[in-house]
């Protein structure tokens, strides 16, 4: 990023923190980019002549006489079809030895879609994972995170979902990915022969944390290009949003802002919403669907990051290790897809929502039975049947290694009902019982 001839270069920093520098400069605009000792930085605060810059790569080794020059524009991405199949860093520069992308220059983090111009999401995204398709059906234009402990195979599940989904483009935004995970995604995408429909923006753990702040906006600027300009169905994968929020708190802390819950900035909700609300069903057929990962600390969803996320996203997919079957399952209690009713029974079979509710209610009864068992009480016949059902349900439907169609999923659920319960015990509408109850 060479300095242009007419730009003034400043060489006196007044203050340096690990993530920010402060200096006196004139004519600076809000959100403008700058370079500090050759590193990319962005204006986050001006007060009179004093300007504070957040330095994405961190300030290690930056001297007080470092050269600072302002670029006059907010962060941008060049967009064109040439993005397809490429891997970029947080600044949108290629990291795959390929050529620079030519295209139209777009500001990242652009304006919101007028809510009145949005269309109601109505297309199902089948994943083959019955625990998602049955209980938490995904819809294009939705935004939904996986809530998972760090030891869960969330990146693997996300890659599987992405590659099975019927979309035109997949955009990966990797924040704080371990190098191994980065290579895993690359390998999965290549092995699936799907590289030409994938664009990746990656910040690995080897790179400075504050750089991550650019990743979602870069990924979504690319997504908007394909969805808005090209009317394509775009799936955006963001992993791991917890590390993104951590980077936000670093910057806010260095700027001496008063932290709110869990030392997160008070604006966390708005900051996350700006990203997730880019998910949209557009009037001309294009759509942006966001599947993200929010890692949890020992399943704690009351922490500020998952908590704010849950209020923004349209549900969450909760991964949990099931001790009965030894499988990783999509937890039916804590998982939710808020848009599921837009497709259940409309794009899927009519009995879908009743089957879902009954299957989860019976699973809840099994949990109660389990509590009784753990407390050393005798179990009733119904309790015992519930426990048997729960094992079957976890193994045949909730486990993430299941890959069947939605109709197969519903049929499987009916078979489990018939195996363990009487029709009345399921509480399902009589018309569906008459139609779908399997004859032994």
């Amino acid at each position: 990023m060479a300095n242009k001839a007419y730009q003034k270069v400043y060489t006196k920093l007044d203050a340096i923190t690990k993530a920010t520098v402060t200096l006196k400069a004139a004519g600076v605009s809000n959100d403008e980019l700058a370079t500090v000792a050759g590193r990319l930085a962005q204006v986050v605060k001006t007060k009179g002549e004093t300007v504070t810059l957040q330095v994405f790569a961190g300030t290690e080794g930056v001297p007080t006489n470092a050269e600072v020059s302002f670029m006059g524009n907010p962060p941008v991405l060049k967009v064109s079809e040439q993005l397809s199949g490429r891997f970029f860093n947080a600044y949108g520069q290629p990291i795959d030895d390929g050529p620079e992308v030519e295209g139209e220059i777009r500001e990242i983090g652009g304006p919101s879609v007028n809510p009145y111009r949005r269309k109601q999401p109505s297309e199902i995204i089948p994943t083959g994972i019955a625990g998602i398709d049955l209980n938490n059906t995904l819809v294009s234009g939705q935004k939904i995170p996986f809530f998972a402990d760090p030891d869960q195979p969330y990146n693997k599940v996300m890659a599987e979902v992405a590659l099975r989904a019927d979309v035109d483009k997949i955009i990966l935004g990797g924040m704080g990915l371990s190098n191994d995970d980065y290579l895993f995604f690359r390998h999965e995408f290549e092995a699936a022969g799907a590289l030409d429909k994938i664009v990746s923006f990656v910040n690995t753990t080897e790179e400075p944390p504050v750089e991550r702040l650019l990743i979602p906006d870069m990924a979504l600027a690319a997504a908007e290009y394909f969805a808005v300009d090209k009317n394509q169905k775009v799936l955006v994968l963001l992993t791991d949003m917890t590390l993104y929020a951590d980077a936000l708190s670093i910057v806010s802390n260095r700027m001496d802002q008063i932290p709110s819950k869990d030392s997160m900035p008070g604006s966390l909700y708005s900051d996350l919403a700006k990203i997730y609300e880019k998910a949209v069903q557009l009037p001309d057929g294009g759509s942006i669907t966001i599947i993200a990962v929010t890692t949890l600390n020992d399943g704690d969803i009351t922490h500020a990051i998952p908590d704010n996320t849950g209020y923004i996203t349209e549900g969450q997919l909760f991964l949990r290790a099931d001790s009965d079957t030894g499988k990783v399952i999509i937890d039916p209690f804590r998982s939710l897809s808020r848009l599921k009713q837009l497709v259940q029974g409309k794009k899927t079979r009519e009995d879908h929502s009743q089957v879902m509710n009954a299957s989860v209610r019976l699973y809840a009864d099994a949990q109660n039975a389990k509590t009784k068992l753990e407390n050393g009480f005798d179990l009733s016949d119904y309790d015992l049947r519930c426990l048997e059902y729960a094992k079957d349900y976890a193994r045949k439907l909730l486990s993430i290694d299941v890959n069947i169609t939605i109709t197969e999923t519903l049929d499987t659920a009916w078979q489990l009902f018939a195996k363990h319960f009487s029709p009345a015990e399921t509480g399902i509408k009589q018309v569906f019982i008459d139609k779908y109850w399997p004859n032994k």
Binding site: R118, V228, E277, A364
Partner: protein, 584 residues
């Protein structure tokens, strides 16, 4: 001379302006960005420095950019045509904006200035009038929309003339008034009012007299909300807050519904856009959209406008209340509004209160809730604003500042419970923790006696006791084991489950069960309570469980069938047979 100024500091949407003249707290200003102008509001003044919150993104704003103050606070434009509109938090019409993306600095007129309305005069020359008195009427949809003496008019006036019945647009002078000084004052169909100031212009604000029907059993029967009352719905995410609010919006017994989507998901608003035009108001048979105004400031729209959105919504409700109409305001979610206050407070480096919220949060919330209520107008007619807000407590913990402050201000409390939601017991309103203070009002008790049946509130209390006792019994069963407790414990537990499954739970997505009118609620409630009165003599708990599951199943089938239809009666007979097969 208008006050002007120059930008001297920027942190996100908080901008400091050096001013050259007087400025008022909450005064609006435009910041000139060259290509466009950004609206902002003064929130603090210190010497010649004014801190303003910008209602837009401040990207590319520079120190030295010029600012012009306009001498007015944020105002709502009030007139015919507000209903079925879709506004942002500043009352810009979202439907007339061009392009898929919102453009910075694009401000659109809230009201169609060209549309002609059928005007009928009410006031006559010589009439003495004051602010909010009715001068005439137009039909807005099926509602009589009164054209009033503007709220801002002080003192009393004499009507000089009113135009004859006919078709006029909103800017036509429809009446000329003479003020106390003998000057003529023209009145059109549109007026403006600062949103942060409560609209007065009524005679008195009595206690609520009756309940507002919502068709939701756990509200109407268990904890009814009064017409002109206040309520709030706190709950962790995923507990069905929005579904419950939408159900109330669709079924609420009100003339006008204003929904403020405040810092929430855009797709939820889209759901309203998609569904409401299709839906029919159960009370009038007209399209729901005709009585609905949507204020939509979703979570990705500018934070400062989010704060304004709830005030804009309340002002519109107060406007319709002054016409003698019953309004329902739903705000989802007031926590996002509180967070907007927190963000600004933080940027201004104010000393924070609990959880970094501003210290006056509680006062701001209770002040806002107090704007609702039933009023008696100057002409003796009544109007009401009923307000229900949702609260999104951080981590689902109700001991946080927004929930606690709201609890002090609202009279009804509908606690959504994670545990119930996990078990898919929807609506997940906890029957024991939730309350309606209105059940303690003698006026309301009497109203229910007359409207439903004598002793209704006692029956409700009885049902609540059964539910509470059932929970206690269940705790005992869990501690001592199925065999460790007497049979009566099981029976008590299952009677509470009967009330829960057959009455409290309601399927918002089932076309029939979603809406349960009071008459039907009464029928089912009495039927279920009469079952609870029976003393069963079960031999063992398996038998008890099995029997109650059968009862629940039949009652649920009744809920799914049209009231008093052949199916309904068939299940009712089946229920009677099931009961007589047991007997006392």
């Amino acid at each position: 001379m208008k006050t002007t100024g120059k930008v001297t500091g920027i942190v996100s949407n908080l901008v400091t302006v050096q001013v050259d003249g007087p400025v008022a707290e909450n005064e609006l200003c435009y910041i000139d960005l060259g290509t466009t102008k950004l609206l902002a509001e003064v929130i603090k003044v210190n010497g010649d420095k004014a801190s303003v919150q910008v209602f837009e993104s401040t990207r590319r704003l520079k120190n030295g950019d010029s600012v012009e103050f306009i001498g007015k606070m944020l105002e709502a434009t009030l007139g015919p045509g507000l209903l079925s509109s879709v506004y942002d938090g500043l009352q810009n019409d979202l439907t007339t904006m061009t392009g898929v993306f919102l453009k910075r600095g694009e401000y659109t007129d809230p009201i169609d200035r060209t549309k002609l309305w059928d005007f009928t005069p009410i006031a006559k020359p010589g009439d003495k009038v004051v602010a909010a008195d009715w001068l005439g009427e137009v039909k807005e949809g099926w509602l009589p929309h009164k054209i009033m003496v503007p709220f801002a008019f002080k003192g009393s006036y004499t009507v000089k003339s009113v135009v004859a019945a006919g078709q006029y647009n909103v800017d036509t002078v429809i009446a000329t008034l003479i003020n106390e000084d003998g000057e003529e004052v023209p009145v059109t169909m549109v007026q403006k009012w600062p949103v942060k100031v409560a609209v007065k212009g009524y005679k008195e604000k009595p206690r609520p007299q009756k309940i507002m029907e919502t068709g939701v059993r756990c509200i109407d029967t268990f904890n009814p909300i009064a017409e002109g009352g206040t309520g709030f719905i706190p709950g962790p995410f995923g507990c069905g807050k929005t579904v419950l609010q939408h159900a109330i919006a669709k079924q609420g017994e009100a003339d006008v519904i204003v929904m403020a989507a405040c810092g929430e998901r855009a797709n939820e608003v889209v759901e309203i856009f998609a569904e409401f035009p299709e839906l029919i108001d159960p009370y009038t048979g007209r399209h729901l959209m005709e009585r609905t105004t949507i204020i939509c400031n979703t979570s990705n729209m500018p934070v400062a406008a989010r704060e304004a959105s709830v005030y804009t919504a309340m002002t519109i409700c107060e406007y319709y209340r002054a016409m003698g109409l019953r309004c329902l305001l739903l705000a989802d979610s007031t926590s996002r509004w509180a967070q907007a206050l927190r963000e600004m407070s933080n940027r201004m480096e104010e000393l924070p209160g609990a959880d970094a919220f501003p210290v006056d949060l509680s006062a701001i919330i209770s002040n806002f809730y107090s704007r609702s209520g039933m009023v008696v107008l100057n002409n003796g007619q009544t109007g009401a604003v009923t307000f229900i807000g949702t609260v999104s407590p951080a981590g689902g913990n109700l001991k946080e500042p927004v929930t606690e402050s709201t609890k002090k201000a609202a009279r009804c409390f509908y606690a959504l419970e994670q545990n119930r939601a996990d078990q898919k017991r929807y609506p997940s309103v906890n029957p024991i923790d939730s309350y309606s203070k209105y059940l303690e009002y003698p006026e309301i008790v009497k109203y229910l006696d007359d409207k439903i049946c004598k002793g209704w509130v006692e029956m409700v209390e009885k049902a609540k006791t059964i539910v509470r006792r059932g929970k206690e019994m269940n705790d005992q069963i869990n501690i001592l084991g199925d065999d460790g407790v007497p049979m009566s414990y099981h029976e008590a537990f299952w009677k509470s489950e009967l009330i829960d499954f057959a009455f409290l739970q309601q399927d918002a997505f089932d076309s029939i069960d979603a809406l349960c009118p009071l008459e039907r609620q009464k029928f089912m409630f009495e039927r279920i309570l009469s079952i609870c009165d029976i003393e069963f003599k079960f031999d063992n708990y398996e038998e008890c469980r099995g029997y109650f599951k059968q009862l629940i199943n039949v009652l649920r089938q009744m809920n799914y069938s049209e009231f008093k239809s052949a199916d309904f009666e068939k299940y009712n007979v089946e229920l009677s047979n099931l009961l007589s097969s047991y007997g006392k």
